[in-house]
């Protein structure tokens, strides 16, 4: 009896031991295999990541192992392999700075519009072309057919060392140079070889190099684009969140043949469609919210009502609750009329505000900046009309440099958030046109050199090819910029009551009925008055009954 039990225990023990052993085996072998398989793969992946996932290591190309003297030399080297690249770039707005709006027939583009920041490129190309994808644009004689004048590396640099400086007509500095001017600091000569050998895909840094700094400085122009998008947190941009989705600009602004989608001259204001399917035929803009999210993005079960808003309200209106939500305030006003005041020694004044940004500059006048700005809201169907060179000004009190078209009855219009930038700038009294003036240059007419408006205007108007009466004033101007970047996470989207109340965000939109606004004040007064009378009536009636019953 005893022996049998012992044998049984022994057998069970053995079986258990075996079982345990297999477990251990399994535990031991599986991770070992995983580790073996993953280790080299991981390091290879890291290596590839460091090289930008490219199949080509540009530092290995003989054509790039050259001590380049100038940017065009680099471009010539690029073109040896990328034979069609410059021809492609030549067709884009990044190169031409020109755009013909097919609806309004207006000739737009940076070259042709006036704004209320630095106002006009015309006659100021040596400075403005720091943001042109080309080399050498200094006046109207620039050769737009030259392939070598295309600047490849301004967009394809990955080193962060390539910088085109204002005043150099689109070139980077090839020699060490004091920068910023009169700062005592020196920028070393651009290492073109290093830049050329490290080219890669465009990045937030390369796009941002111009687009974050529009209007003359970080965060100045757009309000929804500034250098805080180099490395944003989820709060600032749910798509670009560096620890999350980490989108580049190009993720939405899909490009083909160097043509980048998405445009401020002809924006897609509405897109009442399903999400765009890869390979789908058609000419839909892939940079819209709807291209990925569709126009019914909220899930019908969760909130059909939210989805129903998309026929009137742009996504941006709720999902970008404010602009300039990053690290920098954006410029809100620019008054050129005060420019030109100098200190007692005749020197330029630069007065900084508490945030460390210019509030007055002799070259430019007065500015104001704001952080976390609540946008203004307008109907917008995608068509923008501009007041261009020589266009007669319609309303002299406030000149609308651009005006967004659309209204409540327009099926293509949506309510959009905009940054309205307010300026005060030169105006030709005699001809009733906006002024074009010569800002920067090494000559005696540039306003930034001699602070003489008459000379600057004369030169600028002539360069723009429009008549100048010789008499100038300053007019108030407004220019609107659609707000579409820095999309907040959904928990920060607007709540219903921020619009659906008296005095809400959409108070300026009056051609549509909105529940929750004090829409029918007369009916409300009448209704509540009659209800109150009924209440008083029954109370009196009841009172009499109580009194009478006590007497009785």
């Amino acid at each position: 009896m005893h022996t049998i039990r012992s044998i049984l225990i022994a057998v069970m023990g053995l079986a258990f031991g075996l079982l345990l052993n297999t477990q251990v085996w399994a535990n031991a072998t599986v991770p070992a295999a995983t580790v073996k398989a993953e280790l080299p793969a991981q390091s290879a992946a890291e290596e590839i990541k460091a090289k930008g996932n490219s199949t080509a290591d540009h530092s290995k190309f003989k054509a790039l192992q050259v001590d380049f003297k100038t940017g065009p030399e680099v471009t010539a080297a690029c073109l040896e392999c990328h034979t069609e690249a410059a021809k492609q770039v030549h067709k884009t707005k990044h190169w031409t700075w020109e755009y013909l709006n097919p609806v309004t027939k207006q000739k737009l583009g940076k070259k042709n519009v006036i704004n209320n920041f630095c106002t006009s490129v015309t006659s100021n190309q040596t400075f403005c072309s720091a943001c042109h994808v080309g080399y050498g644009w200094s006046d109207d004689k620039f050769d737009f057919t030259s392939e070598e004048n295309v600047d490849c590396v301004v967009c394809h640099d990955t080193t962060g060392t390539y910088k085109k400086l204002p005043g150099l007509s689109g070139h980077p500095n090839y020699k060490a140079m004091e920068w910023p001017p009169h700062s005592g600091k020196f920028r070393p000569a651009t290492d073109l070889k290093k830049v050329a050998q490290n080219v890669g895909k465009t990045s937030r840094k390369t796009c941002g190099g111009c687009h974050f700094y529009g209007g003359g400085g970080n965060a100045v122009k757009h309000g929804d684009l500034d250098s805080s998008l180099d490395n944003p947190k989820r709060y600032l941009d749910v798509h670009m969140d560096a620890n999350g989705l980490n989108f580049t600009c190009g993720k939405c602004h899909l490009s083909d043949s160097h043509e980048v989608t998405g445009s401020r001259y002809a924006p897609t204001a509405s897109d009442a469609n399903d999400a765009l399917i890869r390979g789908e035929k058609g000419d839909r803009n892939p940079s819209t919210c709807q291209a990925c999210h569709s126009d019914r993005p909220h899930g019908d079960k969760v909130s059909a009502k939210l989805n129903e808003h998309t026929d009137k309200v742009a996504c941006q209106t709720c999902h970008i609750p404010a602009f300039a939500r990053g690290d920098y305030a954006t410029k809100m006003t620019w008054d050129w009329s005060t420019a030109g005041k100098l200190d007692e020694n005749g020197h330029r004044l630069q007065i900084k505000g508490s945030e460390g940004r210019d509030v007055y500059d002799s070259k430019k006048g007065n500015f104001t900046y704001e952080h976390y700005v609540i946008p203004e809201y307008v109907w917008f169907n995608g068509t923008v009309k501009y007041t261009l060179f020589g266009d007669k000004v319609a309303d002299k009190d406030v000149v609308k440099i651009n005006s967004f078209q659309g209204n409540a009855s327009d099926p293509d219009a949506r309510i959009w958030p905009v940054k309205v930038f307010r300026g005060k700038q030169p105006y030709d009294v005699g001809n009733n046109t906006l002024g074009v003036f010569h800002t920067a240059g090494e000559d005696d007419s540039a306003f930034w050199g001699n602070y003489n408006w008459d000379k600057a205007m004369e030169w600028g108007m002539k360069a723009a090819g429009i008549e100048y009466s010789g008499k100038m004033e300053f007019v108030n101007t407004e220019m609107s910029w659609p707000i579409t970047h820095m999309v907040a996470p959904k928990e920060d989207a607007l709540a219903c009551h921020q619009c659906h109340k008296e005095g809400g965000r959409l108070q300026a939109i009056q051609d549509i009925y909105m529940p929750g606004r004090n829409n029918t004040p007369i009916l409300d007064k009448l209704g509540f008055a009659i209800a109150l009378l009924a209440l008083i009536g029954v109370l009196i009636h009841g009172g009499i009954r109580i009194i009478m019953s006590k007497r009785g």
Binding site: C496, E502, Y513, F528, V538
Partner: protein, 198 residues
């Protein structure tokens, strides 16, 4: 001599009180959506108003079925008979403890003024609030329905007009609930089903 008659059946009482609760709740949320005050918050008010509306629709499906199958719909056939007597009672008799001019029976449980009032609710207020409410709710489908001539502003206007009518009806209704044989007899009847009458 007081006698008791059974006037309100179980379903009817359930219908009345659940409808009363829903209507009060819908007035509360509805006037908030309209912008008259801030109470639950706009988003909650809209959501709850909509949910309450669908609940009331379901309740009505049952109520209509019940009225049709039991023949109780006949209770709402209007009559002008004794309307003047009722008015006179509310204006004078009620104060002097005069006898109620209307004698309730199971077959005729509403006095002539009630019949007229409820008919007004049935024929005017309810269609107005329901039709405008449905159009309001399905605003985004108008285009698919081919409804291009309607404006949300007018739909909302008449919805609010109907809502005020309900509010006024509600005040009068609650008060007149105390105007029975005794101040509480109507209310008790609506709870227990049994009405005390002369």
């Amino acid at each position: 001599m007081t006698e008791r008659i059974y006037v309100f059946k179980r379903f009817e009482r359930f219908w009345h009180w659940s409808q009363a609760a829903l209507i009060m709740f819908m007035m509360l949320t509805g006037f908030e959506v309209h912008g008259a005050y801030k109470f639950l918050g706009y988003e909650s008010a809209v959501g709850l108003h909509t949910t309450a509306a669908w609940t009331l629709v379901s309740l009505w499906v049952f109520a209509v079925f019940w009225h049709l199958t039991t023949g109780e719909w006949k209770q709402y056939i209007p009559t002008m008979e004794k309307v003047d007597a009722m008015l006179k009672f509310y204006l004078t008799g009620i104060f002097t403890n005069a006898p109620h001019p209307f004698k309730q029976t199971t077959l005729s449980k509403h006095n002539p003024l009630q019949r007229l009032a409820y008919l007004f609710v049935l024929v005017i207020i309810n269609p107005l609030i329901w039709i405008t409410g449905w159009f309001y709710l399905f605003y985004s489908s108008w285009q698919d329905w081919g409804v291009t001539w309607l404006s949300l502003e007018w739909v909302a206007f008449f919805h609010v007009v109907a809502a005020f009518m309900i509010l006024i009806f509600f005040i009068a209704h609650i008060y007149l609930a105390t105007a029975g044989h005794t101040p509480t007899s109507h209310i008790k009847a609506m709870i227990t089903g049994w009405e005390e009458t002369d």
